[in-house]
Symmetry: C2
């Protein structure tokens, strides 16, 4: 039976990734069983949670008449907005626990609705959590707000999902913040344009969410984050609208956009943005290049990153990552290099890149590289089934999160963490992270760590390594024990990447999970204070996503129904 909801979207799997009617094929499920056997978990997979198994308290405040039609307190809506999609979220769903469900989920139909919601929240002492697609893997949308809030309202912007205006000449469009990846791409397609921002969450995450979290996307170089595509942003703060000017570039003071980008819901809700777009690519070139080991491969990628060739893909898989993905023998590293263009054939670019890779011991199949360049034509992007290794990767990439729907109930911890580091420190960093996080995995699971790495993005001054690990989380089906084990590993990962000089996150955002031993140490204390000072101006009552990025703000008393911040 379809659950009661105010959402217009296809029903989601409330306890895991993706749509309720999607899942792994039997063949994929047997991979999960194989992994479980390898890791030694013998627990029978727990049955899927049902909505009625969750014990949700009644909303602590009543919805006002003006907003009643757009506010929902159905179990489906509250549970799908009570967590993101991190491992910790999935395992707590398996445990049928949700300590902090939102009191209400609001589905505004307009900016007026959003403003009315902010007013209601200020008046009733409720915290507000902006909600895009809910794919946060770092506790960014969870209503665990601390403080003395009287309620929490999760504001889901899914009805604000239109491309409002297209400027073909400047290749830009004004897009509403609640548009999912496929929704905005399908509206841009008739104009021959594409945003080409394809995070792994592409199907389930929104433009506003990408901007709020500085999401990383399709391009391995040059345009690595959504930041680079933002022309201007419109945000509704508790003090009112803040909208930056649409400009191709500016040097007028600190960038207003750069304060809103990455603010993770702590300043306001991103209702629309002018985005820089691309023409749909017509030319492609790709190569799969093997290296005898990771050090040589990393040096090769460094050479590519500093050559000014700007490949769209420069994904280096370390030997274990290549092996786990079925494209390596466990000893060789694999680089997937690709160029794309809407304007010109890419022979010269690929030829020079291959020269650099050959200098570092890379090997590839020349015929297959030639074929990749012969097959021009811009296929469907984002979720389509494309031919060849790149298409395989994309499909696998988009399906990967579904595996956790099966791994978690089977007692397996499967998670990732990602970072960036300058080239001079990469070798020690790569060894150090594997040693420290591997040590934590060994400690909690008693087994040799299965911890692999790939580069998702590369810069002239360093790579963005992305680590994946699997280990036994519980042999007994005890989900709380599994959560404890995961926390030990997660904190070790935060600590390792941060204390070894990296960033605690390259593109997964900070949320709550990346603060301890991570963001709180990484960022200059005075910057955090200054940002909190800016936030006090925009959100004097401390309503917006408390506990994310910064501590829950100290708040004043409710005076005459309106919260007043101490002056």
């Amino acid at each position: 039976m379809k659950p009661a909801t105010l959402a217009h979207r296809r029903e989601l799997c409330f306890w895991g990734w993706g749509y309720a009617d999607a899942g792994l094929t039997p063949a994929e499920q047997s991979q999960v069983a194989g992994l479980a056997a390898q890791l030694g978990t013998g627990a029978a997979p727990a049955p899927a949670p049902r909505l009625e198994e969750f014990d949700l308290p009644a909303p602590r405040v009543a919805a006002p008449a003006r907003l009643a039609a757009i506010m929902s307190a159905t179990p489906y809506d509250r549970i799908t907005h009570g967590y993101g999609k991190s491992f910790a979220d999935l395992v707590r769903l398996q445990a049928r626990t949700m300590a902090h469900p939102p009191d209400w989920v609001a589905f505004p139909r307009s900016e007026d609705d959003v403003e009315a919601l902010l007013e209601f929240a200020a008046g009733s002492g409720a915290a507000v959590i902006p909600f895009g697609g809910g794919t946060s893997v770092c506790g960014g949308v969870e209503p665990d707000v601390g403080g003395d809030y009287r309620a929490v309202i999760s504001v889901d912007l899914q009805y604000l999902n239109q491309v409002l205006e297209v400027d073909r000449s400047s290749r830009a469009a004004l897009i509403e913040g609640g548009a999912l990846g496929p929704e905005l791409e399908s509206q841009l397609k008739p104009h021959g344009l594409t945003l080409r921002h394809f995070p792994q969450s592409f199907e389930f995450s929104t433009l506003g969410g990408w901007i709020a979290t500085r999401a990383g996307g399709h391009f391995a170089t040059h345009y690595t984050h959504i930041d680079d595509f933002v022309e201007s942003v419109r945000m509704l703060t508790p003090r009112g609208a803040m909208e930056s000017r649409r400009l191709p570039g500016s040097g007028a003071g600190p960038s207003p956009d750069r304060m809103m980008i990455g603010s993770e819901g702590t300043l306001g809700l991103i209702t629309r943005a002018w985005m820089r777009l691309q023409d749909r690519p017509r030319f492609r070139a790709s190569a799969s290049v093997t290296f005898p080991g990771m050090p040589q491969a990393a040096e090769a990628v460094r050479a590519i990153s500093q050559a000014g060739l700007f490949p769209s893909n420069c994904r280096l898989l370390d030997p274990l990552e290549a092996f786990m993905n079925g494209v390596g023998d466990g000893n060789t590293a694999l680089l997937v290099l690709a160029f794309e263009s809407a304007d010109h054939p890419l022979q010269a670019w690929m030829a020079r890149a291959l020269e650099l890779l050959a200098d570092h011991g890379g090997r590839w199949d020349a015929d297959s590289v030639q074929r990749s360049m012969a097959a021009a034509g811009g296929g469907e992007e984002g979720g389509e089934h494309r031919k060849g290794a790149a298409g395989d990767w994309r499909n696998q990439f988009l399906r990967a999160p579904y595996y956790r729907n099966y791994l978690t109930p089977a007692g397996i911890i499967a998670d990732t963490f990602e970072t960036a580091i300058t080239w001079d420190r990469f070798e020690a960093f790569y060894a150090g992270v594997r040693e420290r996080v591997g040590g934590a995995i060994r400690e909690v699971s008693g087994a040799e760590p299965l911890l692999s790495c790939r580069f998702t993005h590369v810069y002239p001054d360093g790579p963005a390594p992305y680590f994946t690990f699997y280990c036994m989380g519980t042999g007994s089906g005890d989900m709380n024990a599994m959560l404890d084990r995961w926390r030990t590993i997660k904190l070790a990962a935060n600590e390792a990447v941060t204390s070894l000089g990296g960033t605690v996150t390259h593109h997964h955002a900070v949320g709550r999970d990346h603060r301890p031993h991570g963001y709180d140490e990484q960022v200059p204390p005075l910057f955090r204070e200054a940002f909190a000072g800016a936030r006090r101006v925009l959100d004097p009552n401390g309503l917006m996503n408390p506990g994310v990025l910064l501590d829950t703000p100290e708040r004043g008393a409710v005076v005459g129904g309106v919260l007043r911040h101490p002056q």
Copy 2:
């Protein structure tokens, strides 16, 4: 006689651009005379100002013993730090007036000195103006601070001019904020590296100044502002040091760097930064391409900007600008297009660019393009005499500001303003700016406007047009009348570019001059409030560069020798 100074640098022309012992050649001076005749100014050039003609009041506070050795109140030091290099500055120097000289100019030798200076300023109620090379053309370093400050100290960081550390592998270096362009390039050269940031002020401006003002540099695309080269920043604020982490990329919250970049001295002093560097280029390709008019030329540049070719130079001169630079007949627009690389020959890049230009009616000399690509080899950059049109332009570009040393005393207003605008609005914008600013020029000078335009930088979503104008400022030698005329034109320019949708500055910064009818309208009011909130945290007593970017902060009373901001 060499003036008394604590500066270590070669003596500067205190009343104009550049070094005291540099100037225009007789041939160049005759160009000035020709322009004066054309514009109809008949005034005999005023004699050069002398230091003793300025009436400077004694410093209002005494230098403390700890800092006496690094604080100067000599006329040369105070006058060279009392203005930047805008037209308004030059004409006031011609008028022998300086209403707000700094009480002291400090030359710290270390970060400890800077901290001691900030402490002294807080204790004595003095404002602090960070001073790099003093080439601001928007009132960014002038001690006209408003409020009730007891004194103003200009802090010149010229002794902090070392490259402290080089990371060859990541192509990055830790450089002190007070290093001039040539100083840092000469220290990087032995490592085979270059920052390649060549603003027109290259010889006289500093790294810290570039970062504080979001300076635009050498590259017409991709790396347009110094912002793009900043890996991390260290700033001394009145609350202490704030230092971001060295990272190739990050998605951890709003970027701390992006708050410091463009802060124009209002948050603190930039003492050092890790900068991303380039290998010295070995390959070049360049073309001079003519177009029958500006609309076709702009469309051609739009095509280039959206092709993903990333030329290093894409300078489009409109017909008048080409004519004024002696490279056009007044009817044709000229595009100077260049590619450079340290890694690969550029035939494919240039070939595709020329195809696009041909599609839009561009014409060029094929032999000369071929020759540009044949002549490989990385010549000296930044101020050297290079062969060919590109070298001619560079030399002319660096010498251009010297002309104003002759034009101003001859009664000619010569100035520039720069902006950026999306492609969809460019045509109306270009017409509108010329009409409105041309109208202001006509109004004050009574003559047809001489107002030309070039693109300095281009983005996929729009160009950065840079306007130059000349007009008669005074026929009588009355410098105050000339200043009034300039103000009329300047306000018209601010108003035109801002109200027509552009930015009030693409890379000259905001300072004081770009606030009225410009920055104050362009930036969202809530952003300015939020930025002021961040500033209150870092500079609770409102010491730092008051009046720049934001209004002079409201300040509390001096309590026990220390300023306290109202809580």
